[in-house]
Amino acid sequence: MTDTVAGDSEAADLETFRVETRAWLEANCPPEMRKPATSDADVFWGGRNAKFSSEPQRVWFERMRDKGWTVPDWPKEYGGGGLSAVEHKVLRAEMGRIGARPPLSSFGIWMLGPALLKYGNEAQKKEHLPKIAAGLIRWCQGYSEPNAGSDLASLQTRAESDGDDFVITGQKIWTSYANYADWIFCLVRTDPTAKKHDGISFILFDMASKGVTTKPILLISGYSPFCETFFDNVRVPKSQVVGTVNRGWDVAKYLLQHERAMISGMGERGVGRPLGQIAADSVGTDAAGRLDDAMLRGRIASFDVDEAALAACAERAVDLAKAGQAHPAFSSAMKYYGTELNKRRYEILMSAGGVDALEWESERSRQGARPRAWLRTKANSIEGGTSEVMLGIVAKRILDLPGA
């Protein structure tokens, strides 16, 4: 028990951090930023052409950026907050306490950053990480192709060696926000003769490069968050390959773990008020104050049980990772459950909203916010790897079941 004293002072430091963080958030998070964003337009994504949708959004972003808290756990030298895992947990809990939304949403934060921190060289980290942290560059993800979805490693976009450059030709699809993004992290085939996993490289380039074009695709939600992306002899310096040439699959998989962990969080993202109370607005309550639809009430209660349990599991996943006990494929398990749960949430919201949730275009319905959000959630169990693929990964990598 010799480390009791050290343990106690650590706990005291953490408590001080909590108190200070709470006070700082109280003083600095504008009231408007203490509720979830109501639409994609209400989310701040950063980038060269970024515009703030409101003054509070700008203020909140700038204050958090100045503390390095757009990326609280990244090292300070790369524009992060330098927080330890436990401090980061405290910050998340304190933001959650007041419902503070993230100041900056970005594929750079969720996906590329962690991959660069692990696989990037020093020049790449210095070049890209601070711009992600400061919201200066917006990134998109060039993974999927028309014939390479779940079977991502069969991708065909070619990168031909030409002196110090690669020359890239091919097509990506479902590239989220490609038409708004400044840069892309992209998977390309650098060795067409190798086995499919062994000839892929992970490369970064500017979307303003000559030969890049994008064509938006309309989603069933009526929004157009993604594109077909075409590369016609795009010239990219070889220095922009992350990790080793032909070993890009390692980087790609590592990035996917982070992407999946991020997407799984959707299942525990409260809509603000408890579902049961939202439902009461439209369904009504009986004399005892219970929802006037016993079957719906039961579905909501079961949902609430599962949502609370998932939140505990997400917390535990972080703690396990910190303790070095996490299975690398665990994010696939979380992604599966979180996205299926989020779909359940929106099925309940539609069912609770009844006729009120059907309107598609009007002020009253905030341009059909609920049905459009409902439809958007159907992609959760597809994007970042489908539910079936997640279950396959769990079966093979975690349970070690036989068969490829």
Binding site: P274, R297, A301, A308, R316, A333, P402, G403
Partner: protein, 379 residues
């Protein structure tokens, strides 16, 4: 607090697992069942348990216990769940010890807690009266008589009721079924006049009894906690029991699942290991995810109990509800994926299915706890 076991807790788990898997594997339960053992558990093993400090795990050190918390109790329960060992640990060391420790006066604690720690006293809570767990429906009557009370009524599913040396009986001193006001807990000696204990052989071959009380006289000193105000004490004690049973169900689920996955890797049909069939792979993967999520929810509840019992109710409801649905799924898939083998008594899987069914009813099933959460959230 991190949702992972500390080093000390992991060591506790390892020593409990070593002891239980060595001395009381599933064949131990099978032997007790087949020999119609009158005690229904191994007294000798219970003494080793006490020597390891497990019997008094939750009892404060001043009363000879180990003074540990609910996370630690959950660690032991989980190991019990892995081999389905019938043990007084739940009724005596978790539920009764907590009731006495939280509700007892100085004299009551001094009298009973050291005996629980040493393993020499078995105690249990007698709560349920109807088919389902409905604590507020308690209707066993306690009427004032002379210096004390007279108890009349009956209790069902009294865990270890056939061997207990001390019964903690929930009774109604005023009001009617459904009301919080008017519940009182009594310490009753099962040898007292008017107490009739009938051992009930249950589906899971664990230990329980029906107990009738016909004008059983107890004196005023036998009240545990406050007269008429027992609901608060009961809430906390029941939540502790729920957290413990949820832990047992996590251990049980994981064990069934582990055995099932092994079977998928060894049984061949159609010239392949059945674990190669994607229809089974995906179901196994879903079950894995379910168990992991439930494990986290149960750990969260145990930590919440350790932090503040009065604020743990929702976390406990989530844990017990999840444990119920998860264990039910685990045992059903376990039997199904073993095919005809899973249906045989000779094979252990059926024992897990039976125990899961009893655990589901103990201290409230998934429906009960899901309903509690809905009420707590006001809809």
């Amino acid at each position: 607090m991190a949702l992972v076991l500390t080093e000390e807790q992991s060591m506790l788990r390892d020593s409990a697992r070593g002891l239980i898997s060595d001395k009381a594997p599933v064949s131990h339960l099978r032997h007790l069942r087949d020999s119609k053992d009158p005690t229904g558990f191994s007294k000798e093993f219970w003494h080793s348990f006490a020597e390891m400090g497990f019997a008094g795990l939750l009892v404060p050190e001043e009363f000879g216990g180990s003074g540990l918390g609910f996370v630690e109790a959950g660690v032991i329960m989980e190991e019990i769940g892995r081999t389905l060992m019938p043990s007084p640990f739940l009724a005596t060391s978790v539920v009764a010890a907590s009731a006495l420790n939280r509700g007892g006066n100085a004299a009551q604690k001094a009298e009973f807690l050291p005996k629980i720690s040493s393993g020499s006293l078995l105690a249990t809570l007698a709560i349920d009266e109807g088919a389902k767990h409905r604590p507020l429906q308690t209707n066993l009557q306690a009427v004032r008589a002379g210096n004390g009370f007279k108890l009349s009524g009956a209790k069902a599913l009294v865990v270890d009721g056939h061997v207990a040396d001390l019964l903690i009986v929930a009774a109604r001193t005023v009001g009617s079924p459904g009301e919080r006001e008017g519940l009182t807990l009594f310490l009753v000696n099962p040898a007292a006049k008017g107490v009739a204990v009938e051992r009930t052989i249950m589906v899971d071959a664990h230990n329980a009894a029906r107990i009738e009380f016909a004008n059983v006289e107890v004196d005023a000193d036998s009240v545990l906690g406050e007269v008429d105000q027992g609901a608060g004490l009961l809430d906390g004690v029941l939540d502790i029991g729920r957290g413990a049973v949820a832990s047992e169900m996590v251990g049980l689920s994981e064990e069934v699942f582990g055995r099932t996955v092994e079977y998928l890797k060894s049984r061949k049909q159609f010239g392949k290991l059945i674990g190669e069939f994607q229809a089974l792979q995906h179901r196994a993967a879903e079950l894995y995810v379910d168990i992991e999520i439930t494990r986290a929810a149960v750990m969260k509840a145990l930590q919440a109990l350790d932090a503040d019992i009065a604020k743990a109710a929702s976390a406990v409801a989530v844990a017990k509800a999840r444990a119920g649905t998860t264990a039910t799924r685990a045992v059903q898939e376990g039997v199904q994926m073993h095919g005809g083998m899973g249906m045989t008594d000779q094979f252990d899987i059926g024992f897990f299915m039976k125990r899961a069914r009893v655990c589901e009813e103990l201290f409230g099933d998934a429906n009960y706890h899901t309903e509690q959460l809905a009420r707590a959230r006001g809809y």
